[in-house]
Symmetry: C2
Subunit: 294 residues, 2 copies
């Protein structure tokens, strides 16, 4: 029997905590600006979640939709403007964006604490040196979900499947860190890994963020392992013609009775990601308050 590592209870708990913390703040509500292209990607669902969760906890949510003809200069200019805006605490930039928009350069124009999803070069450097600032919400969510279910991560040998700069690398750096939740021995695999089965053989917890549906199955997952499924791919929904649904990396049907636990997609890590993002918004606000008074 494979356990379902449901993210909803943790998400509710974090949201309730955030609501309390936001209501204790003085001054105007914390403000998150979400910068995105209005396209039918998994990000569109993520965006609706952001708006709803912000409303629940009392964070002001604003959107800046990028037109299809937006240039790298315009994106850079918008982020610099938002960086200077005193009423804005935190800025989230959809990623990946089309390459011509120069995501990296644009996001590096944000101050480290306003870079609320922690994907700027400066925040990733801080993770690498063990002095984290903003940490990508999805990486925080994956670790928090693993902790919630007491998965054997701390001090153990775990795997990160995928090496993206926005998920896999920050997750690996956090897991390796000496702080809470870390101290793990970490194997990072990716599309060029010669044998996934051999690379994963010694790992009891697998954090998968490859974005390849069905990648993990009985042929490569050790029996009794836990999978924290961070994969998120949009696929046509067989039950609702014309609609799409989110799919993870784990082949849950094949792994049923083989894996010890799997976080579902949707409803696992994804459910916790937006609450973690909002927790980062609060951290950004507190950092500004500390700067203003200190």
């Amino acid at each position: 029997m494979t356990a379902r590592l449901d993210g909803a209870p943790l998400a509710l708990r974090i949201q309730a905590e955030l609501r309390r913390e936001v209501s204790d703040l003085t001054g105007p509500p914390p403000t998150l600006v979400s910068v995105h292209q209005a396209a039918a990607t998994p990000f569109a669902f993520y965006l609706r979640q952001q708006a709803r969760r912000c409303a629940e906890v009392g964070i002001r949510f604003q959107e800046r939709a990028l037109g299809a003809d937006t240039t790298a200069e315009e994106l850079g200019g918008l982020l610099r403007e938002l960086d200077r805006a005193p009423e804005v605490d935190a800025v989230l930039v959809e990623h990946p964006l089309p390459a011509n928009l120069g995501f990296r350069r644009a996001v590096d124009g944000l101050s480290p604490w306003k870079d609320v999803d922690g994907v700027g070069t400066s925040n990733l450097g801080r993770l690498a040196v063990g002095a984290p600032g903003q940490v990508p919400a999805v990486a925080r969510a994956a670790l928090a979900l693993a902790a919630q279910y007491d998965l054997p991560v701390r001090g153990e040998h775990v795997a990160v499947v995928g090496r993206s700069e926005s998920v896999g690398i920050p997750l690996a750096l956090q897991l390796l860190g000496r702080g809470a939740g870390g101290n793990a021995t970490v194997t990072v695999t990716h599309s060029q890994t010669p044998s996934l089965a051999r690379a994963l053989a010694d790992c009891r917890v697998i954090f998968s963020c490859a974005g390849r549906p069905g990648l993990l199955n009985r042929s490569n997952v050790p029996r009794g392992a836990f999978i924290v499924d961070v994969g998120l791919t949009s696929r046509p929904d067989p039950d609702r013609p014309g609609r799409h649904r989110a799919v993870g990396d784990a082949d849950a049907a094949d792994l049923d009775g083989w894996a010890e636990g799997i976080s579902p997609v949707p409803g696992g890590v994804g459910a916790v990601t937006v609450p973690m993002l909002l927790s980062n918004v609060l951290a950004a606000r507190r950092h500004r308050l500390a700067e203003a008074t200190g």
Copy 2:
């Protein structure tokens, strides 16, 4: 028969190349400033190497010795001064330094290209996002030595033993990168690894930077593996009473006939590190020239 992965031939080749490149430069010679505490650590040997190799290739070498009573403020002030100095191309700060000297904060006061050993937060962030600037010389040296002997690294599963921010982490990030020499699947182990033998079982190349003499032996190294020994520990020399010598992480005697190849300490990675450092000095100079003209 275990091959000896000697660093000297590669070091000579890089030095000869550097000498040519430096002689082709216009303007005053590139200048490296080495900031250090004058103590009897392995760094003292490294320092003499720096001076000698700089002289060989035509790089101007300057030292700034920190007194025993130097404060964090003084170190920070010195590095800011060197950062502004137009005649200085590159600054190397000994590390580790005593914790009270605030190495991290001080080195982060250097411009990314002047941070010639690439240990600043900004340079490590650039490695994490796959857009390297200055990369720690010892990590570059380890990879170059592995390439020199055609070790199975690219696209293979390799191990990094040790997670220091100045060696293990940058090495792992480079190995994981999509660029030349990388694309490896990487397992990072450290002092809290539950079973080194199990963690290393699938790896044919092991980069060891733990600084623990004898750590690697037949009990944990898979038969037929290669060890690139980046460990460097100072131990009393049994052959010369009162003197010290450098010792690596591999128990070479125990591994003889078991490992397929081991880089010696001294004379392996260490021999290549200073040439790589000087190659970084040249990169710093070129970056300044490009900024000045572009």
